[in-house]
């Protein structure tokens, strides 16, 4: 590696898994060279009034490549990630073709190699995410895949999911489930309840999610497999996860930013920008998700960044695809909407997810001498207005258009290189 000028991040408050302190951070040769008072280097990045933290890590990013490059590419998604403070993201396997073989894993990893954010990839549990035949998990694991999921198509068969979990224990990998019982969802397009009844939009009940959460907790007990629960959105899901963790089962769970900030009442606009899976739920569910994040039942905040072109979001609600942008708003939403200590917010956005996706050796590490310099610098007080058109994503489908948020990323450092400086992407 050619020698690059050293950098000092000056005047910030360092927050990581070990605690908080005011310190300057010097970076050289891709690593943290020193942490302490009054340090200098070739180049200075101002962090006055800011928090200096390990870079954020997203366990759930849809990069759309290969197959839907008009909505997003690895490059544009990774740029949005960097602007959002992320230094690592986990690509979801619902591409075309699906990431269900070593060849496609390799393709996505190659595309990510030059991106302004480390791109990890998940692998599918079943071939083509079809829920019928196990995908070659060992081949994918050999390329570094540590988390397997069929994402939007939760594995429906109890028997197949049991086998997948058993097989996964031999590889030491984690299985992640998008919990939805398809039959019970029955073609629903939003949360089933008061609002779906009024709006005449077919709904899917909370129980469709909860049944699969219940089943996979049971299968985790049966097999001992590490299971990660994606997008927990209902009060009872959160309660089941809390109990499973208390019982010592190897489970982790995430909540998306939209599931702790938006309710199904938004669907009254009939604007599919509010259509997502699992669907936006009730105010009580939102409160329960927040409580789960506060007490640790839910240890991870995910974006479920899901770009869709404007045309597809101009279809009627029941025909439009589910999903919304998330990478550039997640941190600000967590800071604005969650009344939690900054260290707990960062745990949910950085070191906890890093561990789940198998990136814990490089990302989410304490800001300490010798560790890889994957960092973000956050201005927690600045307010800004969300604008989908101004985002790096190829798509604009943010449900927060026009909303004022507090807290924004000032700088992002990837392997010692400032990829975002003063809120501007450098490449």
């Amino acid at each position: 590696m050619p020698e690059s000028p050293s950098i000092v991040i000056k005047g910030g408050r360092v927050v990581d898994a070990t605690g908080e302190r005011t310190a300057d951070v010097v970076i050289a040769d891709g690593r943290i060279a020193a942490v302490g008072a009054d340090l200098d280097a070739d180049r200075t990045l101002d962090a006055a009034g800011c928090i200096v933290a390990p870079g954020l890590v997203d366990v759930h990013t849809h990069l759309r490549e290969p197959g839907k490059e008009e909505a997003e590419t690895v490059e544009t998604g990774a740029r949005g990630a960097a602007l959002g403070g992320y230094t690592a993201i986990l690509a979801m396997p619902n591409t075309t073709p699906a990431i269900d073989s070593a060849a496609v894993v390799q393709q996505v990893l190659d595309l990510g190699r030059t991106a302004p954010c480390d791109v990890y990839t998940s692998g599918a549990i079943t071939v083509g995410r079809g829920g019928e035949q196990l995908a070659p998990m060992a081949e994918m694991a050999a390329l570094g895949v540590r988390l397997f999921t069929d994402d939007g198509s939760g594995v429906q068969s109890n028997a197949l999911m049991r086998r997948a979990m058993e097989y996964a224990t031999g590889l030491g990998v984690t299985l992640a489930q998008h919990c939805e019982d398809d039959a019970l969802c029955g073609g629903g397009h939003m949360h089933e309840g008061e609002w779906s009844a009024r709006l005449g939009i077919p709904g899917q009940p909370a129980e469709a999610e909860e049944l699969m959460v219940m089943r996979d907790i049971a299968l985790a007990r049966l097999t001992g497999c590490k299971v990660h629960f994606q997008h927990m959105s209902t009060a009872r899901s959160v309660a089941m996860i809390r109990d499973a963790i208390a019982a010592g089962l190897p489970v982790t769970a995430e909540a998306t930013t939209h599931h702790f900030t938006l309710t199904d009442a938004e669907c009254a606009s009939y604007d599919p920008v509010f259509k997502v899976n699992p669907p936006l739920r009730t105010a009580e569910d939102v409160a329960a998700v927040k409580a789960g994040l506060a007490d640790g039942a839910i240890g991870i905040i995910a974006t479920d960044h899901a770009p869709h072109t404007a045309e597809t979001k101009e279809l009627p609600f029941d025909q439009a695809p589910p999903g919304m942008l998330g990478l550039e708003t997640a941190l600000a939403l967590a800071l604005t909407e969650l009344d939690l200590p900054i260290q707990q917010v960062l745990a949910a956005l950085s070191w906890n997810p890093a561990a789940v996706i198998g990136a814990g050796d490089t990302h989410g590490l304490p800001v300490a001498e010798g560790n890889p310099a994957n960092l973000c610098v956050i201005d927690p007080e600045v307010t800004w207005t969300v604008d989908g058109a101004a985002m790096a994503s190829r798509s604009t489908n943010t449900p927060y258009q026009g909303r004022e948020l507090k807290g924004r990323v000032r700088h992002t450092i990837l392997a010692g290189e400032p990829v975002v400086i003063s809120g501007e992407a450098q490449r």
Binding site: E192, L199, G200, I201, P202, E266, A268, S269, T398, G402
Partner: protein, 344 residues
């Protein structure tokens, strides 16, 4: 979309757009005069001469389209039909592109029917033309509700205090949703009668009673309103069989005798004779189903005239709708406003 409570309403997307009983009353009063027009030897007036109304029907409909078309022609409007099913427009084309294309031809009103709930609402947000909802998914069918109100008023004098049973597949029925809003806004008492599988998943906030026992309800009602029982529901395990549905919820020859002598039988059509209504019952004098069809033309003339004729649109009085189904987001404390579309 509907504006604030005192703004003129440019579109008729659902009953709350009319702003409560006073707005519905206004349509019904105007309908009186168009009923008179329809009875003339030459049932035509020049009220909308030079205006153009387009039909944008994404879902097959003979009756509603003919009714609107007759209404528009009696008002001397020009009409054009954007025939979706036979054109290149298929499921998957941007609604916005289609609506903007039609508007570019200089259209004053677009009458939309769509199998997706909310499609007319979305179109109304993209075009300057008036949008009239002619039925969207399971959501709303406001002109049907207005013609139902008119027909009840015609036969019973007033809706206030009338007890109306709506019987059948409420869950999938846009007619039922709009009827509940209109009937209750006008002071009627509504009982929904259906097996639980055919009720909406939640009736929170609906000012209605619910019963699963038609025999018990029939003696108490002034109007029994039967919904069409669609055969395809049999595939969704919502009912064991049509035969059992008829046995429990059909207005059979035996059941019709439970009704008070002056009680009316209504149906939005098309009927499944022998399923939700016995063939003979449909032809009884108390059955006003053809009056509904007849009044439908006059009601739609009134709606078209109010939206296009006066130049100011419907004036919505500030009365709040009884059910918060008005999908304008301001109804929800956590929903966004137009200026701030993402406030939660």
């Amino acid at each position: 979309m509907s504006g604030g409570s005192s703004d003129p309403v440019r579109h008729l997307l659902d009953i709350p757009d009319l702003g409560g009983a006073a707005g519905i009353d206004e349509v019904l009063r105007l309908t009186d005069s168009f009923v008179e027009v329809s009875e003339r030897p030459i049932p035509k007036v020049p009220a909308l001469r030079g205006k153009t109304v387009a039909w944008l029907f994404y879902e097959d409909s003979t009756r509603t389209r003919l009714s609107f078309e007759t209404a528009a022609k009696r008002l001397s409007a020009d009409t054009m039909n954007f025939s979706v099913s036979s054109s290149s427009v298929k499921k998957g084309e941007s609604l916005r592109d289609t609506a903007k294309t039609i508007e570019a031809m200089g259209i004053d009103a677009i009458v939309v029917r769509h199998s997706s709930a909310g499609a007319p609402h979305r179109i109304a947000g993209w075009v300057d033309a008036a949008v009239i909802n002619a039925g969207d998914g399971w959501h709303a069918h406001p002109t049907q509700a207005l013609l139902d109100c008119y027909t009840i008023r015609q036969h019973r004098g007033d809706l206030r205090g009338q007890h109306i049973a709506i019987v059948g597949d409420i869950k999938h029925s846009r007619v039922a949703r709009s009827d509940v809003l209109a009937f209750t806004a006008m002071g009627a008492e509504v009982t929904l009668v259906a097996p639980p599988t055919l009720l909406p998943p939640s009736l929170e906030g609906w000012p209605v009673k619910v019963s699963h026992d038609l025999d018990q309800v029939l003696p108490t009602v002034d109007v029994v309103y039967l919904l069409r029982m669609q055969r395809e529901r049999m595939n969704e395990a919502l009912l064991p069989s049509l035969r059992e549905y008829t046995a429990c919820f059909g207005l059979t020859n035996r059941r019709v005798d439970l009704l008070a002598d002056d009680a009316l039988v209504m149906h939005p059509g098309p009927m499944n004779r022998g399923v939700e209504i016995a063939a003979e019952v449909a032809d009884l004098p108390r059955s006003v189903i053809l009056d509904q069809v007849r009044n439908g033309v006059a009601v739609r003339m009134a709606v078209l005239y109010l939206l296009l004729g006066s130049g100011t649109g419907l004036v919505a009085p500030p009365a709040a709708p009884p059910i918060r189904t008005d999908p304008t987001p301001t109804d929800s404390p956590s929903a966004h406003t137009e200026e701030d579309p993402a406030r939660a």
